[in-house]
Symmetry: C2
Subunit: 193 residues, 2 copies
């Protein structure tokens, strides 16, 4: 069975976008290495994107995912499908486990990419994310859309599987580990699959 990969660009201080989704801060920095980019895209059988990512990062650039390199099934998680439906997209909502089940079936055994912080957080909370691939950009934003927002003292442990650099970018790949707390490990989220 394929993996669920949360794939994102990230500022050094933990933002995936500036205020209002602005992305000018990535300009002037290296892009991800073409081999890594190609390897990820070729592993994918489906993509699950958040509504903000769809509106600002996919629909706004001609409906292209991964600059057009990915042409498989695209699902967008939203409570309010747009008035003008996009025939290339399946708008979906409801229980995140059921949504992911549908997306995984569409992926036909290949990997699923999750794009967007809010969608990724829902998947993380449900224990549905296997890996996290981050392209770390040298910028301090101080404000914007955070990679991960979750109140309280517990944290999610990661284990590094690949740490590479390309130009001024750090390309980091992690396996998502258990949720931990200062008073001991918490039981992992139920993994119904």
């Amino acid at each position: 069975m394929g993996k669920v990969i949360w794939h994102t660009t990230l500022s050094l201080d933990g933002f995936i976008a500036g205020p209002g989704g602005r992305m000018e801060w990535i300009n002037g920095h290296s892009g991800p290495p073409p081999e890594l980019f190609r390897a990820i895209v070729e592993s994918l059988g489906a993509v699950l994107a958040g509504r903000r990512t769809y509106d600002e990062g996919i629909s706004a650039v001609g409906g292209k995912v991964y600059n057009g390199a990915f042409s498989g099934p695209l699902f967008v998680l939203t409570h309010r499908p747009p008035g003008h439906p996009d025939p290339a997209v399946t708008f979906t909502g409801g229980d995140i486990r059921e949504v992911m089940q549908t997306v995984r079936e569409a992926a036909e055994g290949r990997d699923v990419a999750v794009l967007g912080a809010d969608t990724a957080r829902q998947c993380l909370d449900a224990g549905l994310v296997d890996e996290l691939v981050v392209h770390l950009v040298p910028a301090l934003l101080g404000d914007g859309v955070r990679l991960f927002d979750s109140a309280g003292e517990d944290w999610i442990d990661l284990s590094a599987t690949s740490l590479e650099t390309s130009g001024d970018l750090a390309n980091l790949r992690y396996r998502v580990g258990p949720r931990r707390s200062p008073t001991g490990d918490r039981p992992a989220a139920l993994r119904p699959r």
Copy 2:
């Protein structure tokens, strides 16, 4: 003249400490490589720490900075010096530029390390930080003390000077660049030195 180096441990999602300054999340992960650690400490002529870093990371561990590897002048930025003075520390406050001038003089031409997010932000705002050294730990905290908090659309551009890995840690060194905004570069902060 020595450089001012903001030196910190960081979670992948941009926190230097958990809620209440908790640091259990670094346990079980690699430490910084000894050569890099030694090179930084040997370059230092003085350390400027924030009050929280002093209380929780220095005073609480027997007054040791860098596990005792650094024994030079230690300054702590605070508006409220502790009731029981620490003879090994100079408590200081007021205009951050004047504070840094004093710390630099104590460093006698060697580098200055800045420890603590709030102190670093004040130094950054005044254009006083030359470099940022980060040990990036594979954990998602979601809550705690943020590396950098600054409202608005502008950001600080960094340029990578060294990106290395050791175990599951990414050790990243950046030169601090200009403050930018979506509508063009903003003038850099005054640099009175």
